[in-house]
Amino acid sequence: MKRFFTLLGTELRLSLRSPDMILFAILMPVIVLVVVRIVFGAGSEGSGAGMIDLTFGAFLAIGVCAVGLMGLPLGLAEYRHRKVLKRLQVTPVHPGLLLSVQLIAQAAVSIVSALLVAATAVIAFGVRLEGSLVTVVAAYLLVMISIFAIGLVIASTARDVKRAGIIASVVYFPMLLFSGTTIPFPVFPEAVQRAAAVLPLRHGIEILNAATLGEPLGGMLPQIGLLAAIAVAGIIVSLRTFRWDME
C-alpha cells in the first residue's frame, strides 16, 4: 500500500507540474457550464426543471471524458513512447499497480473538476440537488470508472503515441458532442438522439441526470449494467493487452 501511495504521490505532483491537462479537464467544464447557462437560460416553460438542472450530469461528464479519454490514454502512451514503461519492465512492478496508480491519479483530477462544476452550479446559479448525494456520488463513480476503462483499453492497445492520439480523439469528440455534454441533448433532432444510444457516455449522462434530479434509478438497470460491464471488460482487456514497449 505504501508503494501505491508513493507512486500516486509522484504522479499527482507531476500532473500539477504540467497544468495543460488540468486546465483542459478542470476549467473547461466550468466554462461550458457558464456559457450554456447564459445561452440557453435557466428554465423551459416554467416546468420547474431548468435546462441547467436537466444537463447537470452532462457538465460532470465533461471532466470525466477529458480525463478518461484524453489524459489517461495519452499519458500512458507517452510513458510508453518515452520508454518510461520499458525502464519499469526491468523492475518487479506489477502492470496492474501501474495502471491503478494512473487510474486513481486521473480520477483525482476528474473529481476536482466535478466538485468545481457542482460548486459553480450551486453558488453562482442557485442550482439545488434534488437527489440523494450518495446516489449522485455512486452514479458519478460508475460513469467515471466505465469511461476510464475505455481510456485504459485505448492506452494498452494503441501501438504508439500518435495512434493513441487519433483513437482517443475519434472516441472523445463524438462522445463529447453527441452525448449531451457541451451541447444540451434536447437540441438534437430525434434521429441523432436515437443514434447517440451507441455512446456509453449518453447512458452515463442519463444515469447522472436521473440521480441529480432524484428520479428513481430502478428503470435504468440496463444502462447501469451496461456501464458496469464496460468497466469490468475494459479493465480486463487493458490488463491482458498491456504492453511495456512498442516493439
Binding site: 505504501k2 508513493t6 507531476l14
Partner: protein, 240 residues
C-alpha cells in the same frame, strides 16, 4: 550446490525482418564476475542484452537469468537484477529525489537511496529536474537507479558514455565495490581501457556473431595486437 553461472545464454538468435541482428550467440557469466560485451555500433550488443532481459522477444535460444526465465518469471528475476539501458527514460518534469523514491519503493525491503546519491555526488541535485542535469549526471543517475536495490546481477549498457574522465573513474570504483560485495556485472563498452580495468572476461561481437571470448590477455593474444585496442580492431575486421 547451486549452479555457479548466474547467467547462461545458449544459441541466441534474433532477426528484424531480413536483418539477422544476433546469430547463435552463447555465453555465460559466473557469480561475482564482470563480463564485457564489445563490438562496433550495430554489432548486436544492445539486442543481445535486450533479448536476454526479455524486453525484446528473442528469436531462438535459451536464456536463464539466476536460473529463471526473465519473461515468465519477470517479477522474481528483476527483484534481484538491475538494468541500465543505453537511452534512459524519465517522466517529464520528474526530479532526482522523486525518481529515486519512486524506484526504491518498488523493492522489498525498500532500499535507502540517499547514501547512494551522496556517493554519486548527486545529493545536491535531489530537487533538480532530471532533464536539467548534465549528461554525465544523468548517466550516473541511471546507474544508481539500476543498482538501487543491491542487485545480484546488473546489466549496464554503455556504462560510461558521456562521462568525463573523473566521473568515469568514480563509476569504475563504484562497479568494483559492487563486485567486492558479490554483484555480477554485464556491461557493454566502446572503451578498451574500461574493459581492461574492469572486466574479468569479455566477448567481441561482429555483425551479430561472437568472434572472440576470453580474458583481456586472451583477447589480446587472439587479435595479435600490441594491446587490447589493436587486437579488438583486428578482430572486428578493421585495419590499423
Amino acid at each position: 550446490m547451486k549452479n555457479l553461472d548466474i547467467l547462461t545464454v545458449r544459441g541466441l538468435s534474433k532477426s528484424y525482418g531480413q536483418l539477422q541482428a544476433v546469430r547463435d550467440v552463447s555465453f555465460s557469466v559466473a557469480a561475482g564476475e564482470i563480463f564485457g560485451i564489445l563490438g562496433p555500433n550495430g554489432s548486436g550488443k544492445t539486442t543481445t542484452i535486450e533479448c536476454v532481459l526479455g524486453t525484446r522477444s528473442k528469436g531462438t535460444g535459451e536464456v536463464a537469468v539466476l536460473g529463471q526465465d526473465p519473461v515468465s518469471d519477470r517479477r522474481n528475476v528483476f527483484r534481484r537484477v538491475g538494468v541500465q539501458f543505453q537511452d534512459s527514460a524519465w517522466q517529464p518534469g520528474i526530479r532526482v529525489g522523486e525518481i529515486c523514491r519512486a524506484t526504491a519503493c518498488l523493492y522489498d525491503p525498500e532500499p535507502d537511496w540517499r547514501p547512494m546519491l551522496e556517493s554519486f555526488d548527486l545529493a545536491k541535485r535531489e530537487h533538480t529536474a532530471v532533464e536539467s542535469l548534465s549528461g554525465g549526471e544523468r548517466q550516473k543517475l541511471s546507474i544508481l537507479l539500476a543498482c538501487i536495490h543491491g542487485p545480484e546481477l546488473v546489466f549496464l549498457d554503455e556504462l560510461t558514455t558521456g562521462l568525463d574522465p573523473l566521473a568515469r573513474r568514480e563509476t569504475w570504483g563504484f562497479i568494483r565495490r559492487m563486485q567486492e560485495n558479490g554483484t555480477s556485472v554485464v556491461l557493454t563498452s566502446h572503451f578498451m581501457d574500461e574493459v581492461e580495468q574492469l572486466c574479468g572476461r569479455a566477448m567481441i561481437l561482429r555483425d551479430g556473431q561472437k568472434v572472440a571470448e576470453g580474458t583481456v590477455a586472451e583477447l589480446e593474444a587472439r587479435g595479435e595486437g600490441k594491446n587490447l585496442e589493436e587486437s579488438y580492431i583486428r578482430l572486428v575486421g578493421g585495419t590499423l
